[in-house]
């Protein structure tokens, strides 16, 4: 079911260079800078790949329409550092996920954070923290 939609994003500017953007091998300019989208769905596939991983999520709306979304994150080692393993999000996992959508309307977004049905939160950018 598609949940709500666009909320203000509180992150840093992609241009200012003060934080590491999610898109490390390509520009993130194709994504909205200050808008986010949140959807509820189930994991269709977790592409645990370099230089970016993609979490593919199937979203079913109230009227039965099925949409496939892709959420882009960093590669495997950064996800490992963020505590996000392939086994955390197997196919069929129910979750709510928030990201910055593409400006051109394609069903793709950055992966800002996801919350599994059991309440566990997954935030890829945590993987850049030095600890």
């Amino acid at each position: 079911m598609i949940k709500a939609t666009v909320v203000a994003w509180l992150g840093a500017s992609i241009v200012a260079g003060t934080s590491v953007p999610v898109a490390a091998h390509h520009s993130g300019a194709m994504f909205e800078e200050k808008k986010t989208i949140t959807v509820e769905g189930v994991v269709k596939e977790f592409q645990y790949t370099n230089p970016h991983s993609w979490l593919i999520v199937t979203v079913t709306s109230k009227d039965g329409t099925v949409t496939t979304w892709g959420f882009e994150a960093e590669g495997p080692s950064t996800l490992q550092r963020a505590g996000i393993r392939p086994s955390d999000l197997p196919v069929g996992t129910k979750l709510t996920i928030t990201g910055r959508p593409m400006k051109d309307g394609q069903h793709a977004a950055t992966w800002e954070y996801a919350v599994r049905a059991d309440g566990k939160r997954f935030e890829p950018r945590e993987g850049f923290k030095v600890k």
């Binding site: 970016h52 590669g75 593409m102």
Partner: protein, 299 residues
């Protein structure tokens, strides 16, 4: 304990806490000797001149082996700086390099275009970042020290800089050609590894940072300064783009890995079609062909 002793003890504790806090905060501040090290760069007109001066000061350097080699084991990542070349660049402030007018204008144009959503990063095609940008990438790193070579490894696109410390010189000038990571020679001055790199390919220090030309050369001094930190003093020389040597201090932190989960794997940049991007006619970045989108909606 009397009230006077308690007050005195409280004062000592407060001073100790303040000192610890100062040290902790100080780790995020610019190096206190930045002005002196910047001046050292200005005193030498070329990277080769600075390197030779450092080598002379170290009496030619020393070949290390066995127990004399420093222990740089572990998995590291960049400790400060995000994706700006100079970790001391303040948020929202311009890069700290002193650029020639041409390269200043070039950088400003690139930043202005990025603000309009028109941005292209040369590594989008899976090319290596190249040195000196290599210093800034935020991924896993390992540093392998041997008597004759030191390998500086960045997991991104399996990027290894080989630093020859066996006494060899650079490739003869007539036979040089641009390389992503250049040609690096070095020597040990105690536990400090001093490196000179030339024969580099033009690139960018980072997005929203300046360009460098294929005349760029660097001098680096690597040293492990604590159990978990390696610091690198870096001087960049690039006459077409820099008015004077650009000094920065880079640092890498050894990551906590009690379960030994952190491993550098082979990085195949082209393994997932969803990561393929193209440069549009106006110079922006666009995904080439996302596999999961389209009009596949069903009821």
């Amino acid at each position: 304990m009397t009230a006077g002793k308690a007050a005195a003890l409280g004062g000592v504790v407060a001073i100790g806490v303040a000192a610890l806090l100062f040290l902790k905060l100080g780790a995020q501040d610019p190096p206190r000797d930045k002005a002196r090290l910047s001046e050292l760069g200005r005193q030498h007109k070329t990277a080769a001149a600075l390197y030779n001066a450092l080598k002379k000061q170290a009496h030619g350097g020393k070949r290390l082996d066995g127990n004399a080699l420093p222990d740089w084991r572990g998995v590291y990542s960049r400790a400060r700086g995000g994706i700006t070349f100079d970790p001391d660049q303040a948020p929202g402030a311009p890069p700290t390099a002193k650029l020639t007018p041409e390269y200043q204008a070039r950088m400003v144009t690139r930043i202005e275009m990025a603000k309009k959503g028109v941005e292209w990063d040369p590594i989008s095609t899976c090319a290596p970042p190249g040195h000196p940008r290599w210093l800034t990438e935020p991924f896993l790193r390992e540093f392998i020290v041997t008597p004759d070579q030191t390998w500086l490894i960045n997991e991104m696109v399996n990027d290894v800089r080989r630093i020859y410390t066996d006494g060899r010189d650079h490739t003869p000038e007539a036979d040089r050609y641009p390389l992503y990571d250049g040609d690096s020679i070095g020597f040990w001055d105690g536990d400090k590894l001093v490196i000179h790199t030339n024969q580099l390919k033009a690139g960018i220090y980072q997005r929203s940072n300046p360009d460098y030309t294929d005349q760029v050369e660097t001098v680096e001094i690597w040293q492990k300064v604590s159990d978990t930190t390696i610091e690198v003093d870096v001087w960049v020389y690039d006459p077409p783009a820099l008015v004077e040597a650009w000094y920065t201090r880079q640092s890498y932190a050894r990551l906590s890995d009690p379960d030994k989960n952190l491993r550098i794997r082979y990085w195949n940049c082209g393994e997932n079609q969803n990561n393929a991007v193209i440069q549009t006619q106006e110079g922006a970045t666009a995904f080439k062909d996302l596999t999961f989108t389209g009009k596949a909606d069903t009821k």
